[in-house]
Point group: none
Chain length 244, copies 2
């Protein structure tokens, strides 16, 4: 299943959002990450010009958004419900997950059915009745001294994590970038050349070599020089040697 | 080292930001994740009322922001420079990392020195000269059909990943690879010196430079040269220059 299909099964549910601008920013955040299904539970003002402005051309998300009167209506057809929580609800019986772990669970679930992620009111979050509808809670880690995460920023981070989880799920078989590296022989040729040039220039005294070559081998060994880079390094040495 | 100290060593550098509101939103995004050091390179308008409004009480970040005239000035004292890129720069030799892997490298580096994350202009990103200053690029995965990630959203996601990495890094207390890396200033000094020596030796024709410096910057940028290795490289250049 492609990332696209996986992400299409994730529904973002915004509950009683006060600022229509936040709905627009959330739509933009969703779309950048490939999410498309937006449900709005009793938004204060929608449709609204400010939402359109803040959506920055993610207007299709707004046009296709479903406005409903109750959270239950927003969950129709979903098999997994995740609630976002600004607090670490440690005293409660809910399992509180980090975004990363949560997104992995969400991605797994999308292969067989829909998932809803609930975002509460800007000021007061989710009510206890809404929390009771959730299978898990997810908490985005924040600075304990300033946890003022904007609604759209929370949507952005969770959408991003869902995208990363869906891509990772897809392509564990990523043909790992096999950039060409100069052969060991070619590097040996360079080290000999470098040593000669250093002796000629009197930078290296063969009587007291002070591990210079060892240190330079370590340096260039770490970098994994490509064949074309090695050509530059050797050409430069030739030029330095010729210099009158 | 606590997450707090790790995050204090991460500098967010915004280059020629057009919309002051984006600077404010970026400050808020940083603060929610515990980052505090903001550098602004030639912002179009700063200080600005709109920045304050959008910062939502993260005004301390704005008040302490450092405004500079050049990217080089914004990198003073940083040992690792990471550039954000909207495109997957597959054709270039830069190593392009995912935010997750990148944040792990950043967190490791913060244990011994400062790290700068560069964000380019809203419309055009980073210039080639700015890219050349970076050790790595980081690319936030987005919807290929709509990759319109807001500047502050990009700051939010990378700050979030840095926070998660620093919290994870804490619990692992991995003491490995804390080797010192030469500062960006010191590397710039080396590149200038190298360029001069190459021109003197006629290896580099300033009229037709053929990306030579760019390629060498990429090579040495990848390797993370230590201060003592840099001494060797510079000493060698001096010897090559003196050679009769």
């Amino acid at each position: 299943m492609s990332a696209r299909n996986t992400l299409a099964n994730i529904r973002i549910v915004l509950i009683q959002t006060s600022h229509p601008g936040n709905i627009g920013s959330a739509a933009r955040a969703m779309k950048t990450m490939g999410l498309s299904e937006l449900y709005l539970v009793k938004p204060k003002s929608f449709p609204d010009e400010q939402a359109v402005t803040m959506s920055s051309n993610a207007t299709d998300i707004l046009e296709n958004a479903t406005v409903v009167d109750s959270v239950q209506d927003a969950l129709a057809g979903c098999h997994l419900v995740v609630g976002t929580s600004a607090r670490h609800e440690r005293t409660l019986a809910w399992e509180v997950l980090e975004p990363r772990e949560c997104s992995q669970k969400i991605t797994k679930q999308t292969k067989t059915g829909g998932v809803a992620i609930l975002f509460g009111r800007e000021n007061s979050g989710l009510t206890n009745d809404e929390l009771a509808l959730c299978h898990y809670l997810v908490h985005i880690p924040t600075n304990p001294d300033y946890s003022s995460l904007n609604l759209a920023s929370a949507v952005q981070i969770l959408s991003y994590e869902c995208r990363v989880a869906s891509e990772t799920g897809d392509s564990q078989t990523k043909a790992d970038e096999t950039e060409e590296v100069a052969t060991a022989d070619a590097m040996e040729g360079y080290y000999k050349h470098l040593e000669t040039a250093m002796i000629e220039s009197k930078f290296l005294d063969p009587e007291t070599p002070k591990h210079l070559m060892t240190r330079l081998r370590r340096l260039y060994g770490r970098v994994k020089v490509t064949p074309s880079e090695l050509n530059i390094l050797r050409g430069m040495l030739v030029a330095f040697q010729k210099k009158k």
